[in-house]
């Protein structure tokens, strides 16, 4: 049995999305990092850093949200989320790293500023710097999406899923994506997917 540890309103949502995409059965334990759930021996045996999410699948126990998604794609998504050809697989690895190194830093800065801070605590300087830093990764995505409908080719793969996990932060914080029309169209398609909607429903239930 696969178990995902971590409440949905966190980076665990990324893995819930991937689990819904591959369509395997799983158990979801919504541990909260803020209440000490992630400091229990059960959890720190997997991630002594006490950050969510983490995943258990038989012998496998791991953390790092996007690494979990690669594991799920490689194990349960062959021929779909994880393409069959070496060129496509290479693109999936590239884009997943790109998500972490290039797209997530400005995206998560926005999320912190707009969602976790009050209006008074917000820093325009930080927001402007993040906007500046967003341009290069968005340009890179736009260039790629000019010649193909998805990042690793013409179908949706874990490359799209993992990059969308970061670009979604821009959407949620109402960043104006109109200078990047291909990106705007692509992220809308990603967020329209039934698996993304299923993940959104889990978050909504948790918030209620």
């Amino acid at each position: 049995m696969i178990t995902l540890l971590g409440k949905a309103i966190s980076r665990s949502a990324r893995c819930l999305w991937a689990l819904e995409e591959v369509g395997v059965q799983y158990e979801h334990k919504p541990l909260d990092y803020a209440t000490g759930d992630a400091k229990t021996p059960e959890f720190t045996a997997i991630n002594p850093g006490a950050k969510i999410p983490a995943l258990i699948d038989g012998d496998v126990a791991m953390f790092e949200s996007l690494a979990i998604n690669l594991y799920l794609a490689q194990t349960y998504g062959k021929g779909a989320l994880w393409p069959d050809d070496a060129a496509g697989q290479a693109q999936c690895l590239q884009w997943t790293l790109f998500s972490v190194t290039e797209a997530e830093p400005p995206g998560s800065t926005r999320l912190v500023q707009f969602i976790f801070k009050s209006k008074e605590e917000r820093s325009q300087e930080v927001i402007d710097a993040a906007a500046e830093r967003s341009k290069a990764p968005l340009n890179t995505l736009e260039t790629t999406l000019q010649s193909q409908s998805y990042l690793a080719g013409d179908s949706f793969t874990v490359a799209d899923l993992n990059v969308a996990c970061s670009v979604e932060y821009f959407v949620r914080t109402n960043f104006d994506l109109s200078p990047w029309p291909k990106v705007k169209d692509w992220i809308a398609r990603c967020m329209d997917r039934p698996a993304f909607q299923a993940m959104t429903a889990i978050k909504a239930k948790e918030a209620a």
Binding site: Y71, A90, L93, L97, V100, T143
Partner: protein, 216 residues
């Protein structure tokens, strides 16, 4: 033939080390970023973002240094730097992403201050703040190394190589690792592997020139 683009003073050394570990034949195309060679029309066709490194291997073309290492190891390192078991593989991917997501922002943020600024201009408050946030990451590595000799188990894997490539920034900026003796020993042992030594020996004179230019 495999082609790797990027100079010895770039993240391409991460991939050169991996290529040497795997004993692969490859062509090294050194692009000089000081001369904007990574912005030539020919290179932008291979990598529109103009960054290095990029790898070409048959039909596959990819950028992102740590992703290139995962690609190479999955294709050419089975049973060696890429373990045979799912649990070990999961940890290899985990540590690679941990290195990129958690360690690199702090380690790179630190070395930037040391490389691109002269001593009096360095932001000491930033350096201290980043050092403080690095501590818990080294604690986490220590816990893994308490369990086994290397990050993903008893043998050296891509988990160690990818993490050590990023740790390198701490080492080059004289971060004091003495509070984390297991990490320090692991780093010396990992980073000092003959495959990497071969790359670092070639890098040394080029890096010395670059430092003269940057630090005067």
């Amino acid at each position: 033939m495999i082609k790797i683009y990027g100079s010895f003073v770039s993240r391409a050394t991460r991939n050169l080390w991996m290529l040497e570990e795997l004993g692969l034949e490859y062509e090294h195309v050194s692009l000089d970023w000081a001369k904007q060679e990574n912005r030539s029309a020919a290179y932008l066709k291979i990598n529109p973002a103009g960054k290095v490194p990029t790898l070409e291997d048959g039909d596959a073309t990819l950028s992102e240094s740590l992703g290139i290492n995962l690609y190479l190891v999955q294709k050419y390192g089975q049973g060696g730097l890429w373990p045979d078991d799912d649990a070990g593989r999961a940890l290899c991917v985990q540590w690679s992403f941990w290195a990129a997501a958690e360690l690199e922002p702090l380690a790179y943020g630190r070395i930037r201050e040391f490389l691109f600024k002269k001593e009096p201009d360095r932001d000491q408050a930033l350096i201290a703040n980043m050092a403080e946030r690095t501590g818990p990451l080294l604690d986490l590595m220590t816990l893994a190394l308490d369990e086994h000799a290397y990050l993903s188990g008893e043998t050296f894997t891509v988990a160690d190589l990818n993490a050590a490539c990023v740790m390198e920034y701490l080492d080059r900026s004289d971060f004091d690792l003495s509070g984390w003796p297991k990490v320090a020993a692991w780093y010396t042992n990992t980073y000092g592997r003959p495959a990497n030594q071969k790359i670092q020996d070639q890098r040394a004179p080029i890096a010395a020139d670059m430092m003269k230019r940057l630090q005067g």
